[in-house]
Symmetry: C2
Subunit: 145 residues, 2 copies
Amino acid sequence: MNHLLQGLKRAGLRLTPQRVAICKVLAESKDHPTAMMIYHQLLPQFPTLSLATVYKTLNVLKSMGLVHTLGDAGDGAEHFDADLTPHINLVCTRCHRVVDFDEERIHEIQQAVAQRSGYEILGARIVYYGLCPECRANGSSKESA
Amino acid sequence: MNHLLQGLKRAGLRLTPQRVAICKVLAESKDHPTAMMIYHQLLPQFPTLSLATVYKTLNVLKSMGLVHTLGDAGDGAEHFDADLTPHINLVCTRCHRVVDFDEERIHEIQQAVAQRSGYEILGARIVYYGLCPECRANGSSKESA
DNA sequence: ATTACTGCAAAAGATTTGCACTAGG
DNA sequence: CCTAGTGCAAATCTTTTGCAGTAAT
């Protein structure tokens, strides 16, 4: 049982099969999925799953601070990230994929922000956008994944 | 004439009064406005201004890389930023205000990302979200601006 | 003159909500 | 049991699009 499920349980919320599955996708996926991506990924196992349930669960997790949102990746939808450790996300504006990038110094930066700003920092959204190496190689005009 | 207008002109696009006004708002505002905020700010001067025109202009500027988007600030709308220099944005999740924060080290980080990732970096979205000092002082339950 | 731009209205998408039914604890 | 959660459908809200009229060069 991962920290998402623990968080839900700690808050007294029910661990329904849908929620467990959504948390599993979030915890295991490396691709920073949108609500729609999670929905489609789970549909085979939960044929009656509702997109509304996915949204509701994601909103619960987000309001509890258990997941972060990255904003859209050029595809018009919110991308979710269950990795709360400070890290950088790289968004390709052509194929809309999102990957992680490790950079030690952002730990220090987050501390500096918290100390100097007076804000109570609840989360971060550190996204660089541009063209991934593959899309750079595949020519310079506009294509999709 | 600021760099936004110069960019539009350089691309051979027309400098209509609407576009000039929108660029002015973007260049002068410190509050990282949404399309709707720009629209309302200009409505007194342009009573027939269309929200569609605001969106179209913002999309032109964004596709030319002249403005960046920060994602939503808990208010469900995209926030725009005409400051292209690498910097940090602080979003208050309660009052939905966005302010800048200066931190030298992110210049180095952007360079590191570009070099080590193989991405062609086109922009950044460095947002910390949390509670601003004022909202922290104004109690801990949920309120809006 | 030409062609891009605006404004309007309708469309398209993503996300949210109301409600009856179901199921977890 | 008994409340919280699900699924469906409708609603809402942001953003986009088609098109006819208008204006910039």
